[in-house]
C-alpha cells in the first residue's frame, strides 16, 4: 500500500503528456472513459456472437453469410459446426456478463460517478484504480485470445459446469479452458481492486454535508454493488482456480471418478453467480432512479425505502443461489428453502418498481432520451422480474429449466434491464464525459426501434421455451415436437438481426457526437447532482476547493427553488448553514 497524496487545490494540474493523461491515467474520469470504450467494444463482440447464434437457430444447416472467413474447425461449407455453436453460446455469455455489462455498469459508472457525485477529488487509491482497468483489459484480451488457440474457446457454457469443463477428454477443449480460468482470475482481481476503491471512497471521501442519506441512489447502488463484488468475485476466483488445476495439474476437485464433486462446481459458481446477478442490475437501478427523478421533476418517491430495498436485495442475493440448481439433484428440502428466499426478493424489487412509478405519478414529465430509456428499463425489468418468479417456484421451474424461457428471462433483465439503463446513463452523462450532447433525435429513434425489436426478439422466446425448446440447442428442427415452432425461431432471428442493426444508430450517435455533437451547457438536464457544479468535461482533480453539500439530491420542484424547478445540492440558500466537516489534520 502506498500513501496517496492529496492537496486541497487539485483542479489545476501541470499539463501532462498524452500518455499520462489518456492512457496511463490515474484520473477516475479518464479511467471510466477507458472502461467505456473497452467494454463497448466487447459488447460489440458479444453481439456479433449472438448474431451467429440467431442465424443457426433460425436457419439451421444454411450457410452463414460471411462464414467463409471462419476456419474449417468452426464452419464447414459455411455451415456452423455443433462444436462452434456451443462455443458461440458459451463465449456470448462470458463476454456479455464479464466484459460488457459488468464493466459498463461498475467499471464505467462507479469510477466516473462516485467521486463526482459525492464531491471527492478522486478515488481513494488512484493508482489501484488504474491497475484495476489494466487488469480488466488484460483479462479481456486473454479471453479473446482463446478464439485463436487450437480447439478454440470453452464449450461448457458460460457457467462451466463440471465434469464437462474439468475434463479435457470430455470437452475437447484444452488451452481455451485454461485461458478462460486465467482470464476470470485476472478479472476477479481487477474487480476486487476496483470495488475496495469504491467502498473506501464512499466511506471516507464524501464532501462535507454529503451525509449517508444525502447520497444519490446511484451512489448507494454502486456502493452496495461494490460490497457484493468484493465478497463474490473471490469465490469465483477460487472456483476458476480449482477448475484450472483440474485441467492443468490433474487435481480431482470436480471429477466424480476420483471422489470429487461435480455439484460442488455448481455450488461455487452460483454462490458467486447470484450476487453477480445483482452486481449486474443494482447499479442500473440506482442510475435509473436518478434519471427518473430528473425526468419527472419530482423528488424520488420513498428515498429511504429505495436505499433499504437495495440493501435488502443485496443481502437476500447471498442466500438464493440454489434456485439455479433445482434440477441438479440437490436435496429437494433445501430446494424449498431456496424457493422461499428467492420469492422474498420480489418484495424489495417490487418496492423499487412501485417507487419509480410513484415518482412518475403526476410528475411534470420530460421525455428526454435518458428518461425514455429509464422507463424502458422499468417496464422491461418488471417483465423480467415476473418471469423470474415463475422459475423461483420449484414446481414451475422443473419443466421450464434449461429452456428458451430462461434465455428470455435473462435477456429481459440483462438487456431489457441493464442495457436500457446503460443507454440512459450513457446519454445522460455523455456531456459530463465529453462536453457535448448526443443527438436527441437519433437517440429517440434508437430507443423506440430498440424497444420494438428487442421485444420482438425476446418475448417469443418465452413461448418457444414453454413449448419445450431447450437452450443451447444446436438444431431445433431435428425434433418433431419442436418443428411447429420453427417459424417463431425464424421470426426471432429476423428480429434479432434488426435489433443488432438498430444499434448502428447508437454507435453512430455516440461516435459522431464526440466531435460534432452540440456543445453541452453546464447543467444540460437541470439536475441537482454535485457533478453539474463542474464544467463539462470536468478537470483532473474535479473541484478546486472541496465543495459543500447543502441538501439531498432530489429537490425537484421545491418551493425554495424560486423560478426554477430544481435546487442543486451545491447551491447555498440564505437559510442554509455550512456543514461542519471533520477537523482538518494539523500538519501534512
Amino acid at each position: 500500500m502506498t500513501a496517496v497524496a492529496h492537496t486541497p487545490t487539485t483542479a489545476h494540474h501541470e499539463p501532462m503528456s498524452f500518455w499520462r493523461k489518456y492512457i496511463f491515467s490515474t484520473d477516475h474520469k479518464i479511467i471510466g472513459i477507458q472502461f467505456l470504450f473497452v467494454s463497448l467494444f466487447f459488447l460489440l463482440v458479444g453481439g456479433l456472437l449472438a448474431m451467429q447464434i440467431g442465424w443457426q437457430l433460425g436457419f439451421p444447416g444454411k450457410p452463414l453469410p460471411g462464414g467463409g472467413i471462419l476456419p474449417e474447425t468452426m464452419v464447414v461449407n459455411g455451415v456452423i459446426l455443433p462444436e462452434y455453436y456451443v462455443q458461440l453460446v458459451s463465449m456470448h455469455g462470458t463476454f456479455m456478463v464479464f466484459f460488457a455489462i459488468m464493466p459498463l455498469l461498475v467499471g464505467v459508472y462507479a469510477n466516473f460517478l462516485i467521486p463526482l457525485k459525492i464531491g471527492a477529488h478522486d478515488m481513494a487509491f488512484p493508482r489501484i484504480n488504474m491497475a484495476s482497468f489494466w487488469l480488466a483489459l488484460l483479462a479481456g484480451l486473454i479471453m479473446t485470445a482463446s478464439f485463436f488457440v487450437p480447439n478454440g474457446p470453452i464449450r461448457s457454457g458460460w457457467t462451466n459446469y463440471a465434469p464437462l469443463a474439468a475434463r479435457p477428454d470430455l470437452s475437447g477443449v484444452t488451452v481455451g479452458q485454461m485461458l478462460w480460468c486465467v482470464s476470470i482470475v485476472v478479472l476477479g482481481l481487477s474487480s476486487v481492486l476496483g470495488s475496495l476503491n469504491y467502498i473506501t471512497t464512499v466511506i471516507n471521501h464524501r464532501a462535507p454535508g454529503m451525509t449517508w442519506f444525502r447520497m444519490p441512489l446511484s451512489v448507494w447502488a454502486l456502493f452496495i454493488t461494490a460490497i457484493l463484488g468484493v465478497l463474490a468475485l473471490p469465490v469465483l476466483q477460487g472456483a476458476a482456480i480449482m477448475l484450472l488445476f483440474d485441467n492443468v495439474l490433474g487435481t480431482h476437485f470436480f471429477d466424480p471418478v476420483a471422489g470429487g464433486q461435480a455439484l460442488l462446481s455448481q455450488h461455487l459458481f452460483w454462490f458467486f453467480g447470484h450476487p453477480e446477478v445483482y452486481i449486474l442490475i443494482l447499479p442500473a437501478m440506482g442510475m435509473v432512479s436518478d434519471i427518473i427523478a430528473n425526468g419527472s421533476r419530482k423528488p424520488i418517491f420513498g428515498y429511504h425505502s429505495m436505499v433499504f430495498a437495495i440493501i435488502g436485495i443485496a443481502f437476500l442475493g447471498w442466500i438464493v443461489w440454489g434456485h439455479h440448481m433445482f434440477m441438479s439433484g440437490m436435496n429437494p428440502t433445501l430446494g424449498s428453502t431456496f424457493m422461499v428466499s428467492t420469492l422474498l426478493i420480489a418484495v424489495p424489487s417490487a418496492i423499487k418498481v412501485f417507487n419509480w412509478m410513484g415518482t412518475m405519478w403526476r410528475g411534470n414529465l420530460r421525455f428526454h432520451v435518458p428518461m425514455l430509456n429509464a422507463i424502458g428499463f422499468v417496464s422491461m425489468f418488471t417483465i423480467g422480474g415476473l418471469s423470474g418468479i415463475f422459475m423461483a417456484a420449484t414446481p414451475v421451474d422443473i419443466p421450464l429449466h434449461d429452456t428458451q424461457f430462461i434465455v428470455a428471462h435473462i435477456h429481459y433483465v440483462l438487456f431489457g434491464g441493464s442495457l436500457f439503463a446503460l443507454f440512459a446513463a450513457i446519454t445522460y452523462w455523455y456531456p459530463k464525459m465529453f462536453g457535448r450532447m448526443m443527438s436527441e433525435r437519433i437517440g429517440k429513434l434508437h430507443f423506440f426501434l430498440t424497444f420494438i425489436f428487442y421485444n420482438m426478439t425476446f418475448f417469443p422466446m418465452h413461448i418457444i421455451g414453454m413449448g419445450g425448446q431447450m437452450r443451447r440447442i444446436y438444431d431445433p428442427t431435428i425434433y418433431d415436437f419442436l418443428k411447429p415452432q420453427q417459424p417463431l425461431n425464424v421470426f426471432i432471428s429476423y428480429s434479432a438481426f434488426a435489433l443488432f442493426a438498430v444499434q448502428i444508430l447508437f454507435a453512430f450517435n455516440f461516435l459522431w457526437s464526440l466531435k460534432r455533437g452540440k456543445k453541452a451547457p453546464q447543467n444540460p438536464w437541470d439536475d441537482n447532482g454535485m457533478e453539474w457544479s463542474l464544467p463539462n468535461p470536468a478537470p483532473h482533480g474535479n473541484w478546486e476547493r472541496t465543495p459543500n453539500v447543502y441538501r439531498g439530491p432530489y429537490e425537484f420542484s421545491a418551493p425554495e427553488a424560486g423560478d426554477k424547478d430544481f435546487l442543486p445540492q451545491f447551491v447555498k440558500l440564505p437559510t442554509d448553514r455550512d456543514p461542519v466537516p471533520a477537523p482538518l489534520p494539523a500538519t501534512h
Binding site: T200, R206, A207, V230, P234, L249, G250
Partner: protein, 240 residues
C-alpha cells in the same frame, strides 16, 4: 494503543470531508481487501470440507504423509514473525526508526523499526523456504496434486496399508493439500515482497514517523491475517 489514536488525525485525507469511518483510507482499504480474501479462502477451505465429508473413503491419517513436526516448527516461525511485526509497529509508533540501540542499564540492545521488520521478513522468507523444501520432498516421495504417483515409494506404502494412507481419496487429498497450502504460500510470498519493498523505499530512508506509519500498519494487518489463515490451515490440513 494511545499512539495510534494520536496519529489518527494526521492520517486523515488532507482536505475536509464528512466524518467517514474514523479510519484512514489505506487501512480501510486493507480491511476491505482482507474481507475479500476471507471469501477466497472460504471458497478453498469450504470446498475442502465439502469434499472431505462427502468423500467415498477415509482421508490419510494425520502424519502418515505430511511431516507434522517440521510444519509445526514452521508454524511457530510464522507466529514469531507476527510478534516481530507487532514489535515493528510499536517501535515506529514510539518513534524508534533505528536498527539497534544501547539502553543504559540493560544487557540487550533495544530494537527499532529497521530491526523488527527485518526479523519479520526473515521469518516470512524462512517459512516460504521450508514450505518449498517440503513440497519438493513430498513430490519426490510420490505425493502430487493428482494423488500418489504410480510406481513411487508412497504408492507402494499406500498399496500395503490403504487405510493409513487413505488410498481411495488420494487424489482429493493431493488436490486440496497443494491448492490450499500453495495459495497460502503465495500470500506469504506477496507479503514478504511487499515488506522488502517497504524496507528499501520507506524504512531504510526513514520516511516513517510516529505521525505517519501507514504502510507498516497496513502491511501488519495483512501479515496477521495470513498468519491466522495458516493456523486454520495447519489445524485442518495437518492435524485433523
Amino acid at each position: 494503543m494511545t499512539h495510534a489514536t494520536q496519529a489518527l488525525d494526521q492520517m486523515r485525507p488532507p482536505y475536509s470531508t464528512e466524518p467517514g469511518s474514523g479510519v484512514y483510507s489505506n487501512k480501510l482499504g486493507m480491511w476491505v481487501f482482507l474481507a475479500s480474501d476471507v471469501m477466497f479462502f472460504t471458497a478453498l477451505i469450504g470446498s475442502y470440507i465439502v469434499l472431505r465429508f462427502g468423500a467415498p473413503g477415509e482421508w490419510a491419517r494425520p502424519g502418515a504423509i505430511l511431516n507434522v513436526p517440521l510444519t509445526g516448527l514452521n508454524t511457530f516461525l510464522l507466529i514469531c514473525s507476527s510478534v516481530s511485526m507487532v514489535k515493528a509497529y510499536a517501535a515506529i509508533a514510539d518513534g524508534k526508526k533505528y536498527f539497534l540501540r544501547k539502553v543504559p542499564g540493560k544487557r540487550l540492545q533495544d530494537g527499532g523499526l529497521k530491526f523488527w521488520l527485518l526479523i519479520t521478513i526473515i521469518c516470512g522468507a524462512g517459512f516460504v523456504s521450508v514450505q518449498v523444501v517440503e513440497y519438493i520432498k513430498l513430490v519426490g516421495h510420490g505425493f502430487t496434486p493428482a494423488g500418489y504417483r504410480e510406481g513411487s515409494l508412497l504408492a507402494e506404502h499406500a498399496a500395503a496399508d490403504p487405510i493409513k494412507y487413505g488410498l481411495t481419496v488420494a487424489g482429493l487429498y493431493g488436490s486440496s493439500f497443494f491448492t490450499m497450502t500453495g495459495f497460502h504460500g503465495f500470500h506469504v510470498t506477496c507479503g514478504v515482497i511487499s515488506m522488502l519493498y517497504l524496507y528499501f523505499t520507506k524504512v531504510l530512508p526513514e520516511k516513517y514517523s510516529p505521525q505517519d506509519y501507514r504502510g507498516i500498519e497496513v502491511i501488519g494487518l495483512y501479515w496477521h491475517f495470513v498468519d491466522l489463515v495458516w493456523i486454520i490451515l495447519f489445524t485442518i490440513v495437518y492435524l485433523i
